[in-house]
Symmetry: C2
Subunit: 385 residues, 2 copies
């Protein structure tokens, strides 16, 4: 297996975007290509992640993106795994470079849904659930995560303020991210007082619907070294699954796919959670981040809420979580999110994260899941010095 | 790299199906698992290909399929590359087994669109074109392939009867395939007299909209040998791209992605087109098959129409094409088609193809493309004796 590196990254702003989905994808792709100091001709394959291209009347995006980059002969494909599409796509791109099928590939995630409106976006997203048991019976994601939150809060005696701390911390981080969707400082009281979406989740417990794209360049170590550009190394990769519907799970205060994926990734990297300097995790709802950081091994089960409250996951805490602002503040263009996390890690570990830089970070983790965690992928990255 | 084998295959009937998309996918998956003589627990990952799950309100299918197979922990993903999704997905499954990431994987392609009606299906399919230049300006696929047909016919002095010979031959083959969508013998005059869809293409020059699923089990050679079951070996794999829009191509009597993918696959296998005993190719419209068999190197450019007329591609001809009936008669559930081709090759080379068996076949080729050939993949398989 070849060592696999991330040599460049690019992102559009996340938010409500006017451009069409291909223009959005191209903006991020071109930025990643420039960041890597390569030419499109160096790209051996294009990996796209997207869920609802249909909402902007374009599926089969790879040939359109490749053609617009002037490399129409280069094969591409689209990978979908709901809100976890980006990380699952990153894993395939990683696997192909690791195996030597390509020296250098473009991985670009993109989504455009805000023009359909909140009601239609919620309907579309419900198709990512186990529709027979969930979406088809009116259980949309806020409702499903509300069930999860209620169960967790009861089991571990957490409260609505605990959830709010996640939102406040991620909004603080997002303020330092010029590309974030929701750049607005909020207080615990703002969260508590915001409209109830699905009790106990209020509006400010939920990430926004976002448009946007993120792209990274993956390559083997030889290619990266020759570039004389800063790069980072992928040291761990894991994927897992959970029972598709929430009702099918034994204990909904944990997400099985995260636990499986993390175990694989740590094992491959030969490290433990203590070795990780910061992480970008899947905080589609505040409760998700609390469960994530426990499932990833950063805190014992049931203990994260208190630790978050005391600042352990803040930028200067023991294990900073979502320095980018996370899905909550940076935004959640679902096909792009997993790649956006890798772009943040690249920026952080190559000195491009500006004011939100995590000091002395050397090892970082990304965690991204689909739906209520029916699918998940975890990746580990190392600074190259 | 590990040798990769196909150990089992299954398909639903292709046609108008009443079951939901998950039931359809499960029927083919369970048949493939039984055919391989394995247990779901042997499966390390699930590869799904699908384009319009949204039409049946279910995307993020992998966790739902895995959960219904009783292996919810197993990671999966969906790959989309328009009508070429199945073969592109097969390539990713192949690459992961070849690289040693998994010993055994399930690859299942599925589509359900007929319930949306012909008009809505045509609209959905147009999103697979370069929508900015094509679909968005009213150019749906029958129109685009009509342009290609008109150009080819003018350049190589072919006529509408030449196109009809492809349809008649594939319907003859489909009569012997109990799972084919259109099991009806037709004559040259039936094709010529059928309603014009987009001149020179008539209704019987076009493949149908179909529902259906096909699945195969891929594994490494050691796993296959241990099974004591019949299996075939993947000996070549190639992928390519073309300018996404037809207007962006220099010569529309050839499909660049096919030429690139075929060259890679032949090179990897160390064989030439003359070594291939039969092929399943992408005949979404009759003109496509004529162009395919030239681009794949079975006939010189401009010569295929005459050869087809003289029987060279019939079941007992020099190079039998689409013994399954092809997209034209077997049907075209777009996410499943590429895997259905592999299932046909598995059946043919392991003695399960009944009356439509190609005698003494040892090496077979599959060719499947997306849209007007903006993406394509070619695979080569060898009988194991």
């Amino acid at each position: 297996m070849n060592k696999v590196c991330v040599l460049g990254a690019g992102s559009t702003n996340y938010g409500k975007l006017k451009e069409d989905i291909i223009e959005i994808a191209l903006t991020a792709s071109v930025e990643a290509i420039k960041s890597a100091g390569i030419s499109p001709k160096d790209i051996g394959a294009g990996y796209i992640s997207n869920v609802f291209g249909i909402a902007d009347k374009q599926v089969h995006m790879a040939p359109v993106i490749m053609s617009n980059l002037g490399i129409s002969h280069v094969p591409g494909l689209t990978i979908e795994s709901a809100c976890g599409s980006g990380s699952v796509m990153f894993r395939e791109a990683y696997a192909n470079v690791a195996a030597g099928f390509y020296d250098c590939v473009l991985a670009v995630g993109v989504e455009k849904v805000t023009h359909t409106g909140t009601a239609q976006s919620t309907t579309l997203f419900s198709y990512c659930s186990d529709f027979f048991y969930e979406g088809g019976n009116g259980a949309s994601f806020p409702g499903l995560f509300a069930s999860i939150a209620r169960y967790y809060m009861t089991k571990y005696k957490a409260d609505e303020e605990d959830l709010a701390y996640v939102a406040v911390k991620n909004h603080d981080n997002g303020l330092l991210n010029p590309k974030a969707h929701m750049r607005k400082r909020i207080t615990i009281q703002d969260v508590i007082n915001s409209p109830v979406v699905a009790s106990p989740l209020k509006l400010l417990d939920c990430c926004p619907f976002s448009d946007g794209a993120s792209a990274v360049i993956l390559c083997n170590e030889e290619f990266a070294k020759k570039s004389n550009r800063p790069y980072i190394e992928v040291i761990g990769s894991g994927r897992g699954g959970s029972p598709a519907s929430v009702q099918g799970r034994e204990d909904i205060s944990t997400i099985p796919s995260t636990v499986i994926a993390a175990k694989q990734a740590y094992k491959m990297a030969g490290i433990t959670p203590e070795d990780v300097d910061f992480a970008e995790v899947h905080d589609c709802f505040t409760i998700a981040e609390i469960i994530d950081v426990e499932d990833l091994g950063f805190f014992p089960k049931g203990k994260a809420a208190k630790e978050i409250r005391e600042g352990a996951t803040s930028r200067k805490g023991r294990i900073p979580i979502n320095p980018s602002g996370g899905l909550k503040s940076k935004g959640h263009p679902i096909g792009a999110t997993g790649i956006g996390q890798v772009a943040e890690v690249y920026d952080q570990l190559t000195g491009k994260a500006g004011e939100r830089t995590i000091n002395d970070a050397k090892i970082a983790l990304t965690h991204n899941f689909g739906a209520t965690g029916a699918s998940a992928a975890v990746h580990l990255f190392k600074k190259v010095e």
